[in-house]
């Protein structure tokens, strides 16, 4: 193996520094759609982490036997089979949440995060590093989902995991729920603000400006 493998950096790098959602722009679709409440966000995170880790393990195990020309198809079939299993498990044991997640569980198949990691990492590395890397990326994804899901549920309904945290105004409390938090736009805004916050703390992640004004610029017209 070309790269030496160290356990902790591989696991913790994707949490914030190499976060799959905010830096690598992978797996956005499901990250935003299922975050109207914390419970769905957590279920989705768990499902994705399981699928990602298992897929990385399996693909890394057979990576020497997959012909390169058809490797994408093989990877997609492996991921899709795992997703079918997860989907059936959710439908059997967590009917309510499975209904709330709608088609988004099935869409883990085409989640770029899964294919991105299996293609970029698991197809070149041993089983243990691949699974650790996949698990770390799953945790990084879960972290973002948990934060956004928590904020949206807390401010949209004053609840966390279905339990009333902020007393509602209509029940004699002081909190008026922000309906916008449960609608689509707020997910975009929150993720944008999260990206901004992370990049302010870690300035090396900021993207270079596309057009740099010359140092001795003429006064603007």
């Amino acid at each position: 193996m070309a790269r030496s493998f160290s356990f902790w950096p591989t696991l913790t790098e994707p949490l914030i520094r190499q976060n799959p959602v905010t830096l690598q722009i992978l797996g956005l679709c499901s990250a935003l759609a299922v975050t109207t409440s914390l419970a769905t966000a957590l279920t989705m995170s768990a499902s994705l982490t399981v699928v990602l880790t298992l897929a990385a393990g399996i693909i890394s195990l057979i990576r020497r036997h997959i012909p390169t020309t058809i490797r994408l198809i093989v990877q997609i079939v492996i991921v899709a089979s795992l997703v079918i299993v997860i989907d059936q498990v959710l439908q059997a044991y967590l009917v309510e949440i499975s209904r709330a997640l709608s088609v988004y569980v099935a869409l883990i198949t085409t989640n770029c995060l899964v294919l991105g990691r299996t293609e970029a990492y698991a197809s070149h590395n041993g089983v243990v590093p691949s699974m650790v890397d996949a698990f770390g990326n799953g945790l990084g994804y879960s972290l973002v989902l948990t934060i956004i899901g928590g904020v949206r549920e807390l401010f949209g309904r004053g609840e966390l995991l279905g339990r009333q945290v902020l007393p509602l105004a209509e029940d004699g409390g002081w909190f008026t729920p922000l309906g916008l938090m449960l609608l689509a736009p707020s997910a975009f805004f929150l993720l944008g603000l999260l990206v901004w916050a992370i990049r302010s703390v870690l300035p090396e992640q900021a993207e270079a400006a596309e057009h740099v004004p010359p140092a001795t610029a003429e006064p603007a017209e």
């Binding site: 992978l26 499901s30 079939v77 899709a80 869409l107 975009f188 901004w196 302010s200 300035p203 993207e207």
Partner: protein, 204 residues
């Protein structure tokens, strides 16, 4: 005919793929830096969605749905759990076929699409279109209209976002917000506009 038209508008604007349902966001954000690539992506999406959704409709109802094998004496066979694998296969094959056709007959368009076309295989919006078709049990005509409408909605959204991002190229943004951050905020604002369509649909 009006029903089909309503469904088309519904799919394009009310249930807009990237802005309301969050489908296909990866390509939506990655390819909206330039207007040319955004328009190319929009056309490719419309084409692929318009072909794969009806095709998957035929396959699902002909082979996979519960009771589809009744004519062969197997009325209880339910293969619907295989639909995910079948849909992915159909989409991959369609994209491949489209790529070969374009390469053969319209090389200029093929060059313009570049890498986007193969990427559409793993686009959540395209798979999502087929999954919604099953979940909402559309007929074949509805499925076709729904596929085309979703594609047009995606094209409109990605073209608008690329136009705004082009205008913002010279803006003096805070360092951390540049690029991805501002793209999310813009998408949020567009999405706010598109939620107005949902209100109109609910009112009428």
């Amino acid at each position: 005919m009006t029903e089909a038209w309503i469904l088309f508008l519904q799919a394009a604007f009310v249930d807009n793929m990237p802005l309301t349902l969050f489908l296909g966001l990866c390509t939506f954000l990655a390819l909206s830096r330039r207007s040319e690539s955004a328009i190319g992506l929009g056309i490719a999406m419309t084409g692929v969605l318009g072909v794969t959704v009806p095709l998957n409709h035929l396959i699902y109802h002909g082979l996979l749905a519960p009771g589809a094998w009744a004519w062969a004496g197997l009325p209880e066979l339910d293969l619907s759990y295989l639909s995910l694998l079948a849909f992915i296969g159909v989409i991959a094959a369609t994209v491949q076929l489209l790529e070969m056709l374009l390469d053969r007959h319209f090389p200029a368009i093929h060059v313009a699409f570049g890498v986007f076309l193969p990427l559409l295989t793993v686009q959540c919006a395209i798979l999502g279109g087929s999954l919604f078709m099953v979940e909402r049990s559309y007929t074949l005509l509805q499925a076709t209209v729904f596929g085309l409408g979703s594609g047009v909605g995606f094209a409109v959204a990605v073209t608008m976002l690329s136009a705004i991002r082009g205008r913002l190229a010279y803006a003096d943004l805070p360092d951390g917000l540049r690029g991805l951050g501002i793209a999310f905020v813009l998408a949020g604002l567009l999405s706010l506009g598109f939620s107005a369509f949902a209100q109109m649909a609910a009112a009428s």
